[in-house]
């Protein structure tokens, strides 16, 4: 693979102060029951539309993360957030409540990793504290990308289930006791291997995940065994299998370290087929689960690779294949 410039950035002072998660009821019934700061009993969140519920989840996650980090909103320089809805309305509308600068970003389900890279780069350039957030909601995504909720359709065995949840992270340039650090990040490229089936997003995203992971290993001279775990965003079970085949072909065996946020989110009995998808997967896992394990010393160094499928229903109906992107961050305890 030829490219001209290194895509991997080094971050000197990006400390992960706190993470806060709001999870939907199905997500809290999944494998990580009890790991989330706020678990909803009803995914309407006492609102009259699902879109407003998603917005409120963003508001809660951003405020929650700031409060949990013992900061005042005035100490936050910027909020960097995105979601899956058209015109990223959930994150933008939620940001009405904040008086800080706001950057709305979209890279589908890679949005959370993207926000961590942007946030870390901004801290490198003199900001003090930023909040990075991403999330998704099953009911809003389903109507935008697929069918009405109550339509009785047979789901393909390669489909995934859009996770409901929002995760927010406070990044700071000041270290505290036992604060994990974002040390490096690799920017993703848009890669399209011609997969047409919008149900099979794992297969569409796996080549891009392989590209970013292999680029990171080559740029930094590391190998998969230097890491305790490598978490991909929402490749699902099939996508993870494909990724292992693809990286093995490039000479990197990731099978011992590879986990997928989406695939591990639900129990098999919850009938999500390939597991979870959506921007919420990596945001929930990183803030709810991985951050705690890093602090307790269970992990020393991990990689988080957010994977995003960049299609829209319009491009799919017009017969275009699915481009994908993967952004990666290295987090050191």
């Amino acid at each position: 693979m030829d490219y001209y410039k290194k895509r991997t950035l080094n971050f000197a002072n990006s400390y992960v102060l706190e993470g806060y998660t709001v999870a939907g009821p199905k997500e809290n019934d999944g494998r990580y029951n009890g790991f989330f700061d706020l678990a909803l009993k009803d995914d309407m969140f006492a609102q009259n539309t699902f879109e407003r519920a998603e917005r409120k989840m963003f508001e809660h996650a951003i405020e929650g993360a700031i409060a949990k980090a013992n900061l005042n909103e005035r100490e936050i320089d910027a909020v960097i957030a995105g979601d899956l809805l058209n015109q990223i309305v959930s994150a933008s509308f939620a940001a009405k409540k904040n008086h800080t600068g706001f950057l709305g970003i979209y890279n589908a389900c890679a949005t959370f990793a993207e926000s961590l890279i942007i946030g870390s780069a901004m801290l490198n350039n003199g900001l003090d504290n930023v909040v990075c957030a991403a999330g998704s909601h099953f009911s809003t995504a389903e109507r935008q990308y697929r069918y009405p909720l109550e339509l009785g359709v047979l789901r393909s065995p390669v489909t995934q289930w859009t996770a409901t949840g929002v995760g927010a992270t406070v990044l700071s340039n000041a270290a505290q006791h036992k604060t994990p650090r974002i040390t490096r990040g690799t920017l993703g490229r848009v890669i399209d291997y011609g997969v047409m089936d919008a149900n099979n997003m794992g297969a569409a995203m796996a080549p891009s995940a392989c590209d970013t992971l292999v680029t990171f290993f080559k740029d930094t001279g590391t190998t998969p065994s230097d890491y305790d775990v490598i978490y991909t965003g929402d490749l699902g079970k099939l996508g993870s299998d494909i990724l292992m085949d693809l990286t093995a072909q490039e000479g990197y065996d990731v099978s011992a370290q590879l986990h997928d946020c989406g695939a591990s989110l639900y129990w098999d009995e919850q009938q999500t087929y390939q597991g979870g998808s959506g921007a919420a997967c990596s945001a929930l896992l990183f803030n709810g689960v991985l951050l705690g394990r890093l602090r307790r010393g269970e992990y020393k160094r991990i990689l988080l690779a957010g994977t995003g499928a960049l299609m829209s229903p319009t491009t799919s109906f017009q017969g275009d294949s699915i481009p994908a992107i993967t952004h990666l961050v290295e987090v050191t305890a």
Partner: protein, 149 residues
């Protein structure tokens, strides 16, 4: 695909196709047959019931209307999609599936109001069926007029 063959951009789709889990056609067909058959049997039962008071033609129209009503009700209660998840074509093809296809977007888009929501989006799923159904029936009618009948 053989273990040693290289995965490239060109053969990637073939590789994915061989790797991905397949739908169980036999299981899907049996479920579709059982559920679809049950719906039709219920319809027939209504025809027998209505035949007590009406002539045969009216009875079948009333039976269809009853099935449409029941399916709309079940869609509203959030039951029909759970049936459709394993019944597949068994619950899509009968007239109940059509009812579900009209009511589910109407419910979903009620949040956008009665004009731009319910009114504009109600036939989101069923619309293509109606358009193509009407088109085909016009073609068939023209052919009948020209060559037969």
């Amino acid at each position: 695909m053989e273990a040693n063959r290289e995965i490239t951009r060109e053969n990637y789709k073939q590789y994915v196709f061989e790797k991905m889990p397949k739908s169980s056609h036999w299981k899907n067909m049996i479920w579709a047959f059982l559920i679809g058959g049950t719906i039709c049997a219920i319809g027939q039962a209504f025809i027998f019931l209505y035949s007590l008071w009406f002539n045969a033609q009216d009875a079948s129209v009333l039976a269809s209307a009853t099935l449409v009503f029941i399916a709309a009700l079940l869609t509203g209660f959030g039951v029909y999609d759970s049936i459709g998840r394993f019944a597949g074509a068994g619950s899509t093809i009968p007239i109940t599936g059509f009812s579900n296809a009209v009511v589910s977007p109407a419910l979903e888009f009620k949040a956008e109001g009665y004009v731009y929501g319910v009114g504009a989006k109600m036939f989101l799923v069923a619309g293509p069926v109606i358009v193509n159904g009407v088109t085909v029936s016009v073609i068939v009618a023209l052919l009948t007029l020209l060559f037969g009948g």
